[in-house]
């Protein structure tokens, strides 16, 4: 007999997301925030000068997505990611549907993989929505112009666009780690609200540790720090060190969380529903 696999589980996880309202809450926010930001630029004077690229938002629209990456790190993107990752297992507990899908022909591991992939897809999609909206809206407002990088060198608009794309990709890596933590909390707590809030708390705690005096030595290993690793692309020559560290530090957070979530999901008793 032909057996379904992870691809089937993944496809249906995505379809379930498409059918749920909460999905559009996060994506809506990802789309609305760049528009609100650019609208504010249009009607207000001044620039967010205290963040990197903030002072260029009126000269080049390509600075807008970068400023949003920095703003979004605080809670917006962690929240959007947690909204789905924290819910994707716990909602099955809530609906009592875990027993329904776990008595079919898919193994638990395959169901889990489908869910993990869907949660990561959602985080990636939300980032892409913000990125595209920010580039388009920013360019309409401030023009598709060259950008001054962090070393003070001008970068052509097309090259800057490529760097923005690369930055969003690198930004996705720690966001995937946050998704894994959300999955883990979702599997362990079996409660959607607890998992979503817990994930967000974790992200905020990372930032808190980062600004506490005396704990500066931990900074390179905090997940929140990896959310600015992409800035290495905007130095001449490209500073790969934070980018490479961002990959493995994120992995160091993601893999144990993912493994824990997987084991809990695989071994747990399904008593609800």
């Amino acid at each position: 007999m032909s057996r379904p696999g992870v691809a089937t589980a993944y496809r249906w996880e995505v379809r379930k997301l498409v059918a749920q309202k909460r999905t559009y809450l996060g994506l809506g926010a990802a789309f609305a925030v760049p528009l609100i930001f650019v609208t504010a630029l249009h009607f207000q004077s001044g620039s967010p000068n205290d963040v990197a690229f903030g002072r260029y938002v009126r000269e080049s629209g390509l600075a807008v997505p970068l400023v949003l990456l920095l703003f979004g790190s605080i809670w917006l993107f962690p929240l959007i990611t947690a909204l789905v990752a924290g819910d994707i297992i716990a909602s099955e507990d809530h609906n009592g549907t875990l027993k329904t899908i776990l008595t079919r022909s898919l193994d638990r591991g395959q169901v889990f993989a489908g869910k993990a992939l869907a949660a990561v897809t959602y985080a990636a999609l939300a980032l892409a929505v913000t990125g595209v909206a920010a580039v388009v809206a920013g360019s309409l407002e401030s023009g598709f112009n060259p950008l001054i990088d962090l070393s003070g060198q001008p970068v052509s608009a097309s090259h800057a666009l490529a760097l923005v794309g690369a930055s969003f990709l690198v930004y996705l890596v720690p966001m995937m780690a946050i998704a894994c933590i959300g999955l883990c909390l979702s599997a362990v707590t079996r409660n959607s609200a607890a998992a979503v809030v817990g994930t967000l708390m974790f992200a905020l705690l990372m930032q808190l540790i980062g600004i506490l005096p005396g704990l500066g030595g931990l900074n390179p290993y905090l997940l929140s720090t990896q959310l600015s690793a992409w800035q290495g692309f905007f130095r001449v020559p490209t500073d790969w060190e934070p980018i490479v560290r961002g990959l493995w530090v994120s992995g160091a957070y993601a893999l144990p969380a993912l493994a824990a979530a997987y084991l809990v999901f695989l071994r747990r008793d399904v008593t609800g529903g």
């Binding site: 032909s2 379930k16 009592g96 027993k99 329904t100 008595t103 079919r104 022909s105 008793d269």
Partner: protein, 316 residues
């Protein structure tokens, strides 16, 4: 590889200190309609969840067609379908979408059966509605539809008539009977004795996690407490004669007598009564009811709250 649909041996589940299921042995043969009978909280659902691989047994094994879900994963469920407690679906998807999802999870040609199973449970007209708006009875029927999608050889149903109105109960039982007649093996858990007596050929009686009886329902009813009522012209002498023959004949209501004995002993008694010139006015054989037996088996059980007798429709 065994062909037995279910072979559970020593199935045990401990929740902390509480023993939910204790060393349960259950053997379901092909073609059985097997009643898993016990009061609420006896451990029926926990046993079924272990059989389906949803709960890990603390000890013991449950094999489905010779395969252990704990070792073989979803493959052990090939040919097995059903639900424990109320069937649950995604409330934000339509019934048809729910079935499409499950069919995709089943693989093979399950998708081609969706319309047929919706027809079979009479849900074709409301298949486009979200399950969130379904009544309990509709969800119960959708649960059966979801099980039939798998084209199973073994159907596990956990109290399928619970919460249904009398007509719904009758329809559900008709459906189970029809499926069994088509050669499907059914494990039916229930706390309704009349339901089990009506549908099942074999039973296990479980109470507080322990199996009290497992085997043929007929044998249980015949072997235990089969009572006969006899009315004679001279009850006093009949009692003496029975006593000399070693038969336990007792007075029941009025001039009636009651005995529990095998066929041979009853034949012997009637001949002896005839020879003594005692006329027999009436000799009736009553099969003991499963309910009566259940409480006999469980010793000191109380009929009032342990097991529900089938609710009767009262004609007004």
């Amino acid at each position: 590889m065994s062909d037995r649909p279910i072979e559970a041996r020593g199935l045990t589940k401990l929740y902390g200190e509480r023993l939910a299921v204790s060393a349960v042995d259950v053997t379901v043969e092909p073609g059985d309609v097997y009643g898993y009978l016990g009061p609420n909280g006896a451990g029926k659902t926990t046993s079924l969840r272990m059989m389906l691989g949803l709960i890990r047994p603390t000890a013991g094994t449950a094999l489905l067609f010779g395969r252990d879900p704990q070792l073989a994963g979803a493959r052990a469920l090939d040919g097995v379908a059903g639900f424990v407690e109320a069937p649950r679906f995604y409330p934000y998807l339509t019934a048809r979408k729910n079935l499409e999802l499950l069919a995709a999870f089943d693989g093979d040609d399950a998708g081609s059966r969706i319309s047929a199973v919706l027809d079979a449970v009479d849900l074709a007209d409301s298949a486009g509605d979200r399950v969130g708006g379904y009544s309990h009875g509709m969800q119960q029927r959708l649960g059966i539809a979801a099980a039939l999608l798998l084209d199973p050889r073994l159907l596990i149903l956990d109290e399928p008539t619970t919460g249904l109105d009398p007509a719904g109960m009758r329809d559900m039982r008709d459906l189970v009977r029809r499926l069994a007649a088509d050669g499907l093996t059914v494990l039916l858990s229930s706390h309704l004795m009349a339901e089990v007596e009506e549908l099942c050929n074999r039973v296990a009686i479980i109470r507080t996690g322990e199996i009290l009886y497992e085997g043929s329902l007929d044998q249980l009813l015949r072997g235990h407490g089969q009572s006969r009522r006899i009315r004679v012209t001279d009850p006093a002498r009949a009692l003496t004669i029975a006593q000399t023959m070693g038969i336990d004949l007792r007075r029941s209501d009025g001039d009636g007598l009651e005995l529990e004995a095998g066929d041979e002993a009853v034949v012997g008694l009637t001949v002896a009564l005839g020879e003594a010139g005692i006329g027999i006015r009436e000799l009736t054989t009553g099969r003991a009811s499963l309910e009566h037996l259940f409480f006999q088996l469980t010793e000191g059980g109380d009929a009032d709250d342990e097991l529900a007798v089938e609710p009767q429709v009262v004609a007004v």
